[in-house]
């Protein structure tokens, strides 16, 4: 067993874990933060995307011990009280989801994208979401949602 101490959504969480425990399982099963999903479990789909020290990462491809000492942000950490994050508002306004399975990962990747490039073109949004698959929407509404959020942020 190994001790990990990870600051998740601003709260320091310490636990004894097996080194082989994946970060996504630490979040979902130890901390009950089930907003982060497991889609493929093979590093492809991005449903498990969270921010590790401010950068988007697939939490199914990181052991919790690797994140010891890091700051992790999940979808649960974006809203401030009742105030949704601009990306959450954007996905709401533009119908950026159908079943919602991919949505937390899409939003966390979009946070990273808008951090790097606050006013991306449509092509840049599609490239920025290369690591996230959606089986429902056909992506156009997701692109619209990110554009909506970019506009909200800049106004």
């Amino acid at each position: 067993m190994a001790q990990v101490s990870i600051t998740v959504n601003g709260r320091r969480r310490t636990a004894e874990v097996e080194p082989r425990l994946l970060l996504v399982h630490f979040l979902r099963e130890h901390l009950d933060l089930t907003g982060t999903h497991v889609g493929c479990d093979t590093s492809q789909c991005g449903a498990c995307t969270v921010l590790v020290d401010g950068r988007s990462a697939k939490s199914c491809t990181i052991f919790a011990v690797q994140a010891d000492g890091s700051e992790v942000t999940t979808i649960e950490g974006l809203a401030k009280g009742d105030d949704l994050h601009p990306l959450q508002d954007g996905f709401w306004e533009e119908h950026g989801l159908q079943c919602g399975y991919c949505t937390p990962g899409m939003i966390m990747s979009s946070v990273n994208l808008l951090e790097d490039n606050p006013s991306p073109t449509e092509a840049q949004i599609r490239e920025g979401l290369d690591g996230n698959f959606c089986r429902c929407t056909g992506y156009q509404h997701i692109v619209n949602a990110v554009q909506n959020a970019a506009a909200r942020r800049s106004s």
């Binding site: 190994a2 097996e18 080194p19 082989r20 479990d41 093979t42 590093s43 492809q44 991005g46 995307t49 590790v52 950068r55 988007s56 990462a57 697939k58 491809t61 990181i62 052991f63 011990v65 690797q66 010891d68 990747s109 990273n112 994208l113 920025g128 290369d130 690591g131 996230n132």
Partner: protein, 284 residues
């Protein structure tokens, strides 16, 4: 998918990592970004007894200038390479190569050292390091050593690196007139074929050319026949491209899989060699 159990240690310096590898004997395995290793461990294709984490060793990360050459620390993540101002100005082909790898999440975690140690036949960096005639810097219990990229990549997932050694950096003389062209496998983004070309152009003539190929064979190689054909030719895009059109002809044992058969790959070697050369000349 749950990997087999293992012990986890975090190394604080290169020397510490080498000492920990030695102490773990054959059971020790380095982990950097984990974006090749963790998927293999989940499939239990790799079952290390002790994982030694090198991701937070400060001296392994960063792009810097050393004696007129550029050195990239083995622990530098793909995103940092793709966005390096030094590389974009002095040797854009390396930043361009890193930007084609996987997706943003993969580029935020995966490292140069991990990519070349793993040596996937479809990995991107090997082509570019071959075209730049880069050297790979290695540290181990017997001290430091340097290997030329063309000797480093030896076979399928096989490189000149012992189990108790660690890659610390790659180093190369920057070339502006160099470019990387890649045929993407649409889902994974790995290279079906990738060609990097680096040209030395003077007075309207190609003085020398180096081309690195990935994706087509068991490991990345130099396209020496094309290099020889190009030396001394006029540095205009059409004549350079014409020399490269048949770049795939002399290759044997091409890879074939569900994404592309051997004949298609052979044809694409020529196409992407031409694209890389045209793009390299356009940077002149």
């Amino acid at each position: 998918m749950i990997p087999s159990a293992f012990d986890y240690e975090r190394a604080t310096s290169v020397d510490d990592a080498v000492a920990r590898l030695a102490a773990a004997g054959g059971a020790g395995k380095l982990i950097a970004g984990g974006h090749s290793l963790v998927p293999l461990m989940k499939l239990r294709l790799n079952e290390p007894g002790t994982l030694i984490d090198i991701a937070r060793i400060p001296e392994l990360a960063g792009v810097r200038e050393v004696d007129g050459a550029i050195e990239i620390g083995a622990g530098t993540v793909h995103h940092a390479v793709a966005t390096s101002d030094l590389l974009r100005a002095r040797c854009p082909v390396v930043a361009e190569t890193a930007a084609t790898i996987g997706d943003p999440q993969v580029r935020n975690r995966g490292t140069l050292g991990g990519s070349i140690a793993h040596a996937d036949p479809a990995a991107d960096y090997p082509a570019t390091l071959l075209a730049l005639d880069a050297e790979v810097r290695i540290q181990g219990p017997r001290g430091a050593r340097t290997v030329a990229a063309r000797d480093f990549f030896q076979d399928l997932f096989t490189v000149d690196l012992a189990g108790d050694e660690l890659i610390t950096a790659v180093r190369f003389a920057p070339v502006r007139t160099a470019a990387y062209a890649k045929l993407y496998q649409r889902a994974s983004r790995f290279a079906i074929v990738g060609v990097a070309a680096a040209l030395d152009v003077a007075g309207g003539t190609v003085r020398s050319a180096r081309l690195g190929l990935t994706g087509a064979l068991s490991h990345a190689v130099r396209l020496t026949a094309v290099e020889e054909a190009l030396a001394g030719r006029p540095a205009d895009a059409d004549s350079v491209a014409a020399e490269a059109a048949r770049a795939g002809d002399g290759l044997s044992d091409l890879n074939a899989d569900i994404h592309a058969g051997a004949d298609y790959r052979r044809a694409m070697v020529g196409v992407f060699a031409q694209r890389a050369l045209r793009a390299a000349l356009a940077r002149g």
